[in-house]
Structure formats: C-alpha cells, structure tokens
C-alpha cells in the first residue's frame, strides 16, 4: 500500500466512523450552509427535460420520485409510503403521502404522477421511455393512489422509481404547454427538501430550505450553494481553502485525491453509486480487423493488469469486474471464466490467432487526465504482450462521432447499469441494438442468438429465481466471447468534511440531495 492509498484508507475509515457515530447517538443540528462543487454547469434544472449528471446532482434536491433505494438497492419510501405488487407481477399499486406540497404551495396528487409518466416524461425522457414500453396503463385510483398495469411482468420495474429516472413534475404548470419552452423552466418547482432560489450563470446555483417539506423536521440545512469551478485543480484548491465542503464523486482528478484525503476533518467515501453502478470498459470493434477474432479479444483481457490500474490510477477504489454485470447489480454471476493478468497467455492466444502486428487504434475517453493516464497504462500493458497499439486523441464531440460511426478499434468508456441487467446491461449486448449513431447501444457489434433470447426472457421472467438462472447463463456466454474488455466497477470518491453528517444515505448518494445532511458545527 502506497502512502497515498494509506491516507485514502484512513479518510475512508474516518467516514465510516463518523457515519456510525452519527447513527448511534448524535442529535442532528438545524441550520448551516453546504457549499458544493458542480461541474460542468448544468444546462437547466428541470430534471424531466435534462437527464445529464450535473442537472441530476443539483435538481435531486428539488424534485422527488415515488421511491428511493438504500445502498443494497431495496426500495425506500419517498413520495409513496406503501406499495403492493399482484401475484403475477403485472399490477403495481402505490399509495402516496397526503401532505406533499409543490414549492408553489399547490398540493401534489396522483394526477401529477400520471401526468408526469404518460405525458411529460414519455415525451422528454428517452431512458424512461424504454421501460414504459412495458406499461399498459397508468391511472389514479384516487387522489393518493396510483396504479401501473404492465403488459407482461417486467423484472426491473420496481427499480425505475428513482428521482433521475422518474422525476415527478407538476401537472398544473406544464399541462397543455410546450414543455421545452415553458417559462417556468427558469424556476423549477418540485416537492423536494430544497427550493430553487437563484442561478448566477457561470458562478453558482443557490437552493434554500423548503419550510413546507413533507418530512417533519427535514431538511436540517438552511441552504445549499453549488459552485461552478471549471478547472479540476482549482476545485481541489477550493476544497483545500475551505471554500467548498463537498467534492461529489469525480469532481477532482484522481491524483489529487490522496493529497486532499490528508487534510484535517476530511472524509472520503466510494458509496452512493450503487444504483448507477458505473462500469468502465473498452469497446472492442468485433466487426473487422484483428479484434473480430475472439482469441485476440481474450488476449486483450489477459494482457491488461487491471488490478494495477485500479490501485495506481483509481487509488485502489472499485472492483475489477468479472464480466458484463457489475457485482453491485442484481443477478450478478461470479462463476464465469476469469481473465486474470497473464501476458504469457495473451501472447499464446495472439500467436494462435495469427496476429501479425496490425495496428490497433485506441480512443481514450476525453474526460480528463485520469482517463488519459489509464489509456496509457493499458496501452503499455498491451504492447508488452505483443499488441501494436496507437492512441488517437479526440474531444467529446469527436469521440461521440467516432463511436457513433464505428470508426475505432478500441475505445474507453463507462456506462451506468441502473441496478438491473434489463435496465443497464443487456442494451450493450443484444443484436437488435446494433445501430450507428449511439454510444450506449451494442457499439462493438456483438451478435449471439442465445444471448438475444436470454436477454429477452430475463427482462420479463418472474419471479427473481427464474431471472437469476437466465442471467447467469447469459453472463457465462458473454464472458467466454469477450466482446468488450471490462476494466473497472468504478467508485467515484466523494470527498467531504467529516462534520457534514448523513451526507450519503441512498444508492444514488449526493444525487438524492442534501435532505438528510446536517452540520455538526
């Protein structure tokens, strides 16, 4: 363990101790301000309109959904207090709280939920739209009861009620309007613990306590400021200087994490990403060139020292994946063929496949220094095992286009898995999802009939034991075929002052807002 990793381990232990202490005895204190970093600046704060990470991070304080999820992905009450599922898993009934007010004082009812799902989000939320294809009907049984009837069982259905996936949006403001151009878009109205106060573009976003919040006593904080600081090094300095209290996961470059973790009153946690379960991998273009050969793709996996990259570049945070499903996602199957670091085995496979040293083009992810260094480490590993790898630089726009046009051999990326294979895994492996223009589908061009069948069956099978059986078989086939090179189950470290208590309480961490957080000052 290096000095840096030791400092991080200590700061993580401090986080655990602080959380345990807070859970045991301390009475939360009211008042205070949280200063948090946001990068990049969000395009807007209407969560239903903008599904990007910075919007969710800020607007997760303003909007809510029917449920939240704990760090084991079990559903928790939010706008809904109770729920029932019928025996064959096709009818879901949610009972809503009866004391919820929108930030403008109007009561929130079941009609708002129906409007959000069938009108607003069906038009504006591409990711939710995919899940809604399984829904036959949504209706309000009374003011505080909503019922979803599905066309057939849809295994991950209980997992789509997270605020970023289904933000409940006010019907009285949006009904009958052009959602994109509604003047109310400059002043988001939600039901969450904090209300929108001010947005000084290029500088900061200011949220204030919702005095009428439907959970008695919450939130504890008076206000939250989100500071827009575009440069990674400057964000680190802002924390060091005491200007900000929280650096949400991914705010600073990984090489700054060890230094920051040594500061007094500093805690680090990798928690709060369980729902997203981000996994990093390299797309391998299965269509042409050396990587069309399964043995060459397997050699790629054997050639990479993934533990080294995890320890050296990601400060030892995260797990090395064994296959397409993250170990934090439901129906993960650990019993699959392993690709432990073995350059000799890689060389053997390359020889067997008759690889003649043809150049392989690698696109790093243009998301900063961490990803650049990672690409360099992987390239060095692969060169040592006999590959001829060249790196090609792009910016985000260029990277999108190259992947959308399939103009690459290997490309770094990371995607969210949303807790269930049917939501965030199978989309990358089924052949019906091979289409140009997207960076989230089956970009590598992998085709296997059995995998297609299993993915279809797994989504609608009932109950969970059946789904586990199906997804286990699917994972074994995919790992054997090595269509992409899985690199890391990422845990973006969130760095914060230890006297900021109860910061991360759910499976989406700071994205669920500061509703429970309080300052022990």
């Amino acid at each position: 363990m290096t000095k840096g990793q030791r400092a991080i381990a200590l700061a993580m232990a401090a986080a655990v101790t602080a959380a345990a202490g807070s859970a045991l005895a301390e009475e939360p204190k009211r008042g205070g301000t949280a200063n948090v970093v946001i990068q990049p600046e969000p395009p807007g704060l209407i969560m239903g309109l903008w599904q990007n990470a910075p919007t969710q991070m800020v607007a997760g304080n303003i909007y809510e959904s029917l449920l939240k999820y704990d760090q084991e992905l079990n559903p928790l009450p939010s706008l809904a207090t109770e729920w029932e599922v019928n025996d064959d898993g096709t009818v879901y009934t949610f009972h809503l709280k009866d004391n919820v007010l929108w930030h403008d004082g109007e009561p929130m009812t079941a009609d708002d939920v129906v409007f959000s799902v069938t009108d607003f989000l069906a038009e504006t939320h591409p990711r939710l739209r995919v899940s809604l294809e399984h829904v036959e009907n949504v209706e309000a049984l009374d003011d505080h009861t909503v019922q979803f009837t599905l066309k057939q069982p849809f295994g991950p259905f209980m997992g789509i009620f997270e605020v970023g996936s289904m933000p409940i949006t006010p019907k009285h403001i949006y009904e009958g309007t052009n959602f994109q151009d509604n003047p109310a878009n400059n002043h988001p109205i939600g039901t969450g613990p904090f209300k929108f106060a001010e947005w000084e573009r290029g500088s900061h976003i200011h949220l204030v306590r919702n005095e009428d919040y439907h959970v008695e006593g919450l939130p504890y904080l008076d206000e939250v400021y989100w500071h827009v600081i575009p440069d990674g090094a400057s964000r680190a300095v802002a924390y060091e200087n005491g200007d900000v209290d929280v650096l949400p996961g991914g705010s600073v470059e990984n090489f700054d994490v060890a230094r920051l973790s040594e500061l007094p009153n500093t805690c680090i946690t990798g928690g709060g990403w369980e729902y997203f379960s981000p996994m990093a991998w390299m797309w391998l273009n299965n269509r042409e060139g050396p990587l069309a050969d399964k043995r060459v793709r397997q050699a790629v996996l054997y050639s990479i020292d993934r533990e080294f990259a995890r320890d050296a570049i990601w400060n030892g945070l995260g797990e090395v994946p064994t296959g397409p499903v993250s170990s934090k996602v439901r129906f993960y199957e650990p019993d699959v063929p392993r690709y432990d670091y073995d350059p000799d085995k890689a060389r053997e496979l390359l020889e067997e496949a008759g690889y003649d040293g043809e150049e392989i083009r690698m696109l790093p992810l243009p998301y900063g220094e961490t990803w650049q260094r990672w690409a360099e480490a992987v390239r060095q590993n692969m060169q040592e095992a006999g590959f001829n790898v060249s790196m090609e630089a792009t910016d985000v726009g260029g990277w999108n286009q190259r992947l959308g046009d399939w103009d690459y051999d290997m490309a770094f990326t990371y995607l969210y898995q949303y807790g269930d294979p049917a939501l965030g895994v199978t989309r990358n492996y089924i052949s019906s999802n091979i289409a140009k223009g997207s960076q989230w589908n089956n970009v590598q061009g992998y085709e296997d009939e059995r995998v297609d069948e299993l993915a279809d069956e797994g989504a609608v099978a009932f109950p969970d034991e059946k789904r586990q059986e199906i997804y286990s078989e699917m994972q074994k086939i995919i790992v054997e075929d090595a269509p992409i090179a899985w690199l890391l189950e990422i845990e973006f470290p969130t760095i914060y002052r230890c006297d900021m208590k109860d910061l991360i309480q759910t499976a989406i961490g700071v994205n669920d807002g500061f509703g429970d957080a309080w300052l022990d000052r």
Binding site: E41, E200, G202, D231, S234, A238, G397, Q401, G437, W440
Partner: protein, 324 residues
Amino acid sequence: MGRLSYITRRLVKGLFVLLAIVILNFFLIRAAPGDPAQVMAGEAGASDEMFIEQLQERFGLNRPLHEQLFIYVKGIVTLDMGWSYRQDQSVASLIGQRLPATLLLTGTAFCISLMFGVLMGALAAARVGKWTDSLITTVALIFYATPLFWIALMAILLFSVYLGWLPGFGMVSVGAGYTGLAYIGDILAHLVLPALTLGLFYTAVYARMTRASMLEVMEMDYVKTAKAKGVAPGRITRVHVLRNALLPVITLAGIQAGQMIGGAVLTETVFAWPGIGRLMFDALLQRDYNLLLGIFFVSSAMVVLFNLITDLVYTFVDPRIEVS
C-alpha cells in the same frame, strides 16, 4: 480626404469582412466532428433515435446546410444571434451576462500591462547594459515564457492557500451578501490574482517590445543630433525616443484591445471567472454552434473596430502618417 469619410469607408469595408468571417466560421465549426444533438444526447446518457431527432428538429439541424446558413445570416443582419442549444437561453443574453466580467478582467489586465510594460521597457532601454536592464529583461523573459495557467495555479497556491490573503476563485464571495462599498471591495479582491496573472504576460510583451523599439530609435540620426545639440537626456528619451518608439506598441495594444471581448480562456477557467472566454470554451466542447458563432461574431467585430481605432491613433501620435 477627411477623417470622417475615411472612417465611414473603413466601417463599410469592416461590415463585409464581418460577413465573410460569419460565413467562414459557420462552415468551420460544422466541419468539426460531432454535432450538438449528439453531445447533448451523450450527456443525457441515452439516445434513442426519437431523442436525437427531437433535438435536431428543435435546433433546426435537420434542415439543409444552405438553409441553416441563410437563417443564421438573416438573423445576424438584424443582430439576432440565435438560441444557445446547451444553455437554453438566447445567445445575446448569455454574452450580455458574461461581458461585464470579461471586460473588467481584460480591461484591468490591459491597463496594468500597458502602463507597467511601457514603463519597464523604457527604463530598460534608458539603462541599457546596466543591471536594471538585465533584471527587467530577465524577469520579462521569464513571464513571457511561463505558461499562464501555471502562473495562475502558483498564484492561487501562494496567495490564496498558504498566505490566505486573496480569494482563489470566482468573482464575488457567494452568499456573503455584501452591498455597496463592501461589494466593490469584494470584487476587487477577487480581481487581483486573475488580472495580475493575465497582466504579467502582456506586461512582459510590452516591456520587450518597448525596449527593442526604443533601442532602435536611439540609433537614429535625429537622436544623435539632439544629443549633439546638448538636449537633456531625459527630454531626449521622452520626446524624441519614446514617442517615436511607441508605434509598434500601439499596434500591439490595438490587437490586445480587440481581443479583450473574447476573454481569456485559460485565466477565466483556472480562476472560475464567469467571463466570455470560458463560455466560448464550453461552447466549443459542446458544439454549441450558435453560441460559439455569436461570440466569434462579437469579438471579430471588436477586432475590426479596434483596428480602425489603432489606425486613427497612429495619425495622432505620428503626424507624418495621414489617413488615406
């Protein structure tokens, strides 16, 4: 020819130059790989075809290129710079919001650098070969050669982190609720580090240029004549040398002033200064065509304008130059 008709002619010419710049930029930015719909879908982490089509429809990106160009140029002629895709606001209002911050930063840096640069350059030239000259030349060379972002980060570390004298980012203390003089003082405190950082580079440039230009003029016959006549050295430097040596400095100042509107991308980024430079950088990465074109348009208009002003200033400084 009178000054007025000269100015009118130059302005009309300038308008055509601007139009050409607008059209060139329109195609240039579209030649970059990727488009705004793709980048925004990327940020959303999802892209069914319907979503991309919705975005393209909304931004008019699905129309033929010549139609897009026609719509854009028609807008520009009426000073309508369109809508920013990513920021979801009109380009004019975005530029308007950021302009004061940028002008404050670049304007302060401009004044600092012009004043100190010329002073240092003149001092070095007057003491050529002495230790003052060596010192100024060396320091100027160091600041000229050191990357701005590095100076910026070191300045933050020293003055903000270790010494705690000055704020390290932003333009105001967010949430402090200052008003009146305290508010102005707060902005000035935030301005010191970015303005000095940006100013140092240009100070070095002006110092080097003034020194070189003055040394050249000092070799002129009329300077020798003045010396032979027994004119006091201070007067020779001020009246005969400096004034004649200022022409290249004015050219450079004109260029710098023209670029002021474009902001200072690196300085604004490191200091989280909410100016136009950063807006432009973000717009570039996000392929926010209208916003980028809008910023290019405004800043090229400024360059054209300041070129004209520079040419006019020449005629005042050096009466031998005539408008023609």
